[in-house]
Symmetry: C2
Subunit: 409 residues, 2 copies
């Protein structure tokens, strides 16, 4: 296994890109699906934004450094990674806030089309914030949440469903929905579709235009390497752009924000998804991460992602049969991650981290590892397997220190 | 005037603090009310967050670097600047998004108390995003906007008013409301009160607890020197904290976010105002700015702010009588800024900037200057007056280049 990994790394056309990240050679970082690694170019770029753009050029940087267009510029760079046109994507706020905007917009579109549909259909066990945002609109009396297990989604698409909202790659299991098929099924049933690409963008094939998707959101701090809590992005298909309304109608989404008028008038297109003033430092860091992904290109990223996860799945099955893999065996329906169930997943995860093999734990019993294709090596995956084997054999993970829980577990 | 300014600077107990900002000596920066200057400590702190916390410690920094508690930690540091208790303030999202949360929460509180009140009362010409957020809730059918001129607000507090929402210091005129009086008037009429402190926090006296205010929001990138688009903050009086609901119920506002449950359960207290994952880089920069303001202390900041604006008002009245001051002459009802009307305010502003005297323009005809007390010198104010006099006498501002407009004007 170790030798096979070495051969794969030697033949890996993306191997050189790890050097573009400030990532200690000794670390097997299998948590880029939670927080992407630091691109080597980011510290200098942020220092420039802080010292020159903010410190020296001050307020004029809104024009001269292009801060005012950063959300659009960044959106246009993300677009090709998710199969969208450059004017269909914008960077803004968080995934949660963007979900709220787009669920609202979808419900409004349906009502404008004379539909009484209020149901937002999703699956139980979706990433919590996705469900919580439906609940938020439910608390306002504007939506009705319905959850159907993934096998039952198509049959749950009744004539009261306004929106089908799903996470493309499941955060815990790594299962990937067939975006094109479910989008079509929803449309056939008169529903709109909103895809959460948080665990997809930058790692798996996404073709929003090809699937005919209506709306999408995605995360900046995972495979896009934008930094902790980096802003999110939102996608609106061109055909909906002039028709949508969303209630977080802040001044940055106004057609003429610097006219300072009392009445809101939405900006053209996807710009109307902006709300308040964007966090420029965080968004500037995100641009570096997105630029790096764009330089590599989405096709080779996707290919390597699949190679890494398949190598790991096979090695784990062979060497660690006692850990149940809850991710699909078929790479075609799996994201860039694998999850394994073990009653002591938490302790195993902590013990691995102590050995610089970094994955994460998801309650109650899942050890999750992610494969950020730009910097993960096959050797990292092999190390995961060999360290785990060693640890399970020695019982080292039973040390009391590995059971201690932090605020974020 | 120049000599008087020199004497005032020589006697200024805050003079030394300018050295804590990376601000060119040659610049008279009178736009800290729009974007605060860069604290000297910020670049190193951000480099540390980027390189060590993100780059080296990666995901573990959520625990080890305290990222997960940054919104609360920052809120507690802001609290004494606005007369709040440490558990009444939290840093999150943007002013706009926080307005949406708190307007929603206020409307919900009223309805829970059996009130049919839906009106949100504000003033025409309030900062646009404040009005736009009311409009957003209006578009959802949940609020009704009513605007009353500032002299008529108390009489407009009818029994249908759920919430009085005002900006404490007006962004354009600098007029400051009597927070205590209007809060009492609203309460007497059965309404709740939400104060926007964007142009107040860090520069003028604010006593939210003393006034009995219910809710407030404020801006991180003005007098708090948090950097471009820094996150905002939100305040909820303790008495409301266990009762409020807000629809942006994202996972970071959940009682146990890392339990990943399908049902939303709000976190205790003001934590429930959190929504998505906060932008850590931007929020870390903001902490440096807030720490600096806390080191100086709000009382001397307020005193100097008043000294600077009064010096400038008097000097402008004496030397530039042709510019009409639209800010109140009485410092007790004025924020830390002055605005002057001139039909060529835009050109004058641009010409001043060319001379490194930086104020800003607010459509259609206002030249606005702000006095960030931590780093503005009396000499800067004197220079504004003398450069303006010189420019008006010479007609230099008539050069064509000064009429060109950027995206942000």
């Amino acid at each position: 296994m170790i030798e096979q990994a070495a051969n794969l790394d030697a033949a890996d056309p993306l191997a050189k890109w790890r050097g573009e990240f400030l990532l200690d050679d000794a670390i097997a970082y299998l948590d880029g699906n939670s927080l992407g690694a630091l691109p080597k170019a980011t510290p200098d770029r942020i220092a420039e934004v802080v010292r020159r753009e903010w410190g020296e050029d001050l307020i004029s940087s809104w024009n001269t450094a292009g801060w005012i267009n950063l959300p659009q510029r960044l959106g246009a760079k993300i677009a090709p990674l998710v199969g969208a046109k450059s004017d269909e994507v914008i960077a803004a706020d968080s995934v949660s806030v963007n979900l709220f905007k787009l669920i609202s917009a979808a419900l409004k579109l349906q009502s404008q089309n004379g539909q009484r549909r209020k149901v937002v259909l999703s699956e139980p066990g979706n990433f919590p914030t996705d469900l919580y945002m439906i609940e938020g609109l439910e608390s306002q009396g504007l939506a009705e949440q319905r959850l159907a297990d993934r096998g039952d989604i198509e049959s749950a698409l009744g004539d009261d469903v306004a929106l089908l909202m799903l996470t493309h790659v499941h955060y815990k299991s790594g299962e990937m929905f067939d975006m094109a098929r479910l989008t079509k099924a929803a449309h056939d049933a008169g529903a709109l579709v909103l895809w959460d690409l948080s665990h997809s963008a930058g790692a798996v094939p996404v073709d929003l235009n090809g699937a005919g998707a209506d709306f999408a959101v995605g995360c900046g701090y995972k495979y896009l390497n934008g930094g902790p809590g980096a802003p999110a992005f939102a996608y609106v298909a061109q055909r909906h752009q002039s028709g949508i309304e969303q209630p977080l109608s802040g001044w940055m989404g106004h057609a003429k924000p610097f006219d300072f008028t009392d009445e809101y008038a939405p900006a053209p297109g996807v710009d109307r998804l902006l709300c308040g003033t964007p966090p420029i430092l965080s968004m500037s860091a995100m641009e570096v991460g997105v630029d790096l992904m764009a330089s590599i290109g989405i096709a080779p990223l996707v290919e390597k992602s699949s190679g890494l996860s398949e190598f790991t799945r096979a090695a784990m099955a062979e060497h660690i049969p006692e850990l149940e893999c809850i991710s699909p065996a078929d790479p075609a329906v799996r994201g860039s991650q694998l999850s394994f169930r073990h009653e002591n997943a938490y302790e195993l995860c902590q013990a691995l981290i102590a050995r610089k093999v970094i994955g994460d734990f998801r309650a109650p019993d899942v050890l999750r590892v992610g494969f950020a294709p730009a910097y993960v090596r096959y050797a990292d995956c092999a190390r995961l397997v060999s360290e785990l084997r060693d640890m399970l054999d020695s019982g080292e993970w039973r040390k009391a220190e590995y059971a201690e829980r932090g605020a974020v577990t």
